[in-house]
């Protein structure tokens, strides 16, 4: 065994046998923001065999405060996050087969990428994509690790198909109007702490130490000094549509996807949620105002503006993203506000 991994192999639950397993495994990391860059670095240093990084975004100045992988040079070059991450990771450990995929993940394009994947790591910023991961995980029997953070709060849970409850057992519907990093802000230790949990769980799964996988959801708030472990022994639902006996994998169908369309003759993209929502526009206005948006609203719609981009959101969740014809960018902007 090489010197590089000597301290990790000295850790007896991993050992040399575990290290050999880690080096044969393929992890798909979805998202290369704060959680994604720290997860990618940890697994690359640990010597994972292959790491596929999927992300739709590029590096911006506002990322540098917490997204540990990126530099001012990446911002200057406007590099896609997946590509920038790959370059830095290969400087850290050239033995890892790092693949950068610049795309907007959907149920269809993700499924095609999962053939030889041993673990899906969640570093996304929205529940819609997580529910797609959750269904694909059940369908293809691939473990995944939910991780999320906002403000000073973090949350993570490990899902083993056929064993643990799935995310759909815990969340009957996709939560709407949750805080996002664009509305509630984020401090870096919230991300770091989630990643510490995710990396430990990843290593357990990669060395196939299934008994040690944490059978509970962990949540914490580093500012309000709260820690909670929620046991999940009663959470698995027999009638869950994603992991139950009569499963239909509802999030793999188009009807449950957010739809986008370029409006004819206008520099605007319309984004429509899968089902009409009933947003509390006043609360949303307050959140957006606090995070630097110029906001106006009436009982029917809210208009907000930042960095030259104007977004109009209707009470039913439909939104117009002005100043763009890029549907992927519009969907990302929408999800950064509404989660």
């Amino acid at each position: 065994m090489t010197e590089r991994y000597s301290r990790q192999t000295l850790f007896s639950p991993i050992g040399e046998r575990g290290q050999l397993k880690i080096q044969k495994k393929h992890v798909l990391l979805l998202g290369a923001g704060a959680l994604g860059s720290a997860n990618a670095e940890a697994l690359t240093r640990a010597g994972v065999g292959k790491l596929t990084i999927v992300d739709r975004d590029y590096v911006e100045t506002s990322n540098l405060q917490r997204q540990q992988m990126y530099t001012e040079q990446d911002v200057a070059e406007k590099l896609p996050k997946a590509e920038a991450a790959k370059r830095h990771l290969l400087d850290i450990n050239h033995e890892v087969d790092v693949k950068a995929v610049i795309m907007d993940a959907t149920a269809q394009n993700l499924e095609q990428m999962l053939g030889d994947v041993d673990l899906i790591l969640d570093a996304t910023d929205n529940f819609e994509t997580r529910m797609i991961i959750n269904d694909l995980s059940q369908k293809l029997r691939i473990p995944w690790i939910y991780g999320a953070c906002v403000g000073s709060v973090g949350m993570t849970m490990t899902i083993l198909p056929g064993q643990t409850p799935c995310l759909h057992c815990l969340l009957k519907t996709i939560p709407i109007q949750g805080m996002t990093c664009d509305t509630g802000g984020i401090i870096s230790p919230a991300a770091t702490m989630v990643v510490a949990h995710q990396t430990a769980e990843s290593l357990k799964i990669l060395v196939e130490d299934w008994e040690s996988v944490r059978p509970a959801l962990v949540t914490f708030d580093l500012w309000r000094n709260q820690y909670q472990t929620v046991k999940l022994t009663k959470a698995k639902k027999k009638d869950c549509l994603s992991c139950g006996e009569q499963r239909t994998y509802p999030f793999l169908t188009m009807e449950n996807a957010t739809k986008t369309a370029v409006l004819c003759g206008r520099d605007t993209v319309q984004v429509r949620p899968p089902k009409p929502l009933k947003l509390q526009l006043e609360k949303l206005a307050k959140d957006l105002n606090g995070s630097g948006y110029l906001v106006k609203f009436n009982p029917f719609l809210l208009s907000c503006e930042k960095d030259g981009e104007r977004i109009v959101i209707f009470e039913d969740g439909r939104a117009l993203i002005h100043g763009t014809k890029d549907m992927v960018h519009a969907r990302a902007t929408y999800q950064s506000i509404l989660g």
């Binding site: 910023d125 999320a148 949750g178 996002t180 309000r224 472990t229 989660g339």
Partner: protein, 77 residues
């Protein structure tokens, strides 16, 4: 009495972390409704609930002495 623990922004909305509330025999859903009316807490419909540190759904019936934690789901990354 039921001990209610409020996490993250719910703690700020109420102005404190724990409260004690009458709720013996109530379902989690009913307790959520009661808290919404009494304390004007918003968004309780989508929070995750733990009863005595065990994940619980809206139908779970509560007994005196239970500790109920309301945990808003987190979506950022």
């Amino acid at each position: 009495m039921i001990n209610v623990l409020l996490f993250a922004q719910l703690k700020d909305e109420l102005g404190k972390e724990t409260i004690s509330i009458e709720g013996n025999g109530m379902s989690v859903a009913k307790l959520k409704g009661k808290m919404k009316v009494e304390f004007e807490l918003e968004g309780l419909e989508t929070v995750m609930t733990a009863v005595n540190e065990e994940f619980a759904d809206d139908d779970t019936i509560l007994s005196d002495g239970d500790t109920v934690a309301f945990i808003p789901p987190v979506s950022g990354g």
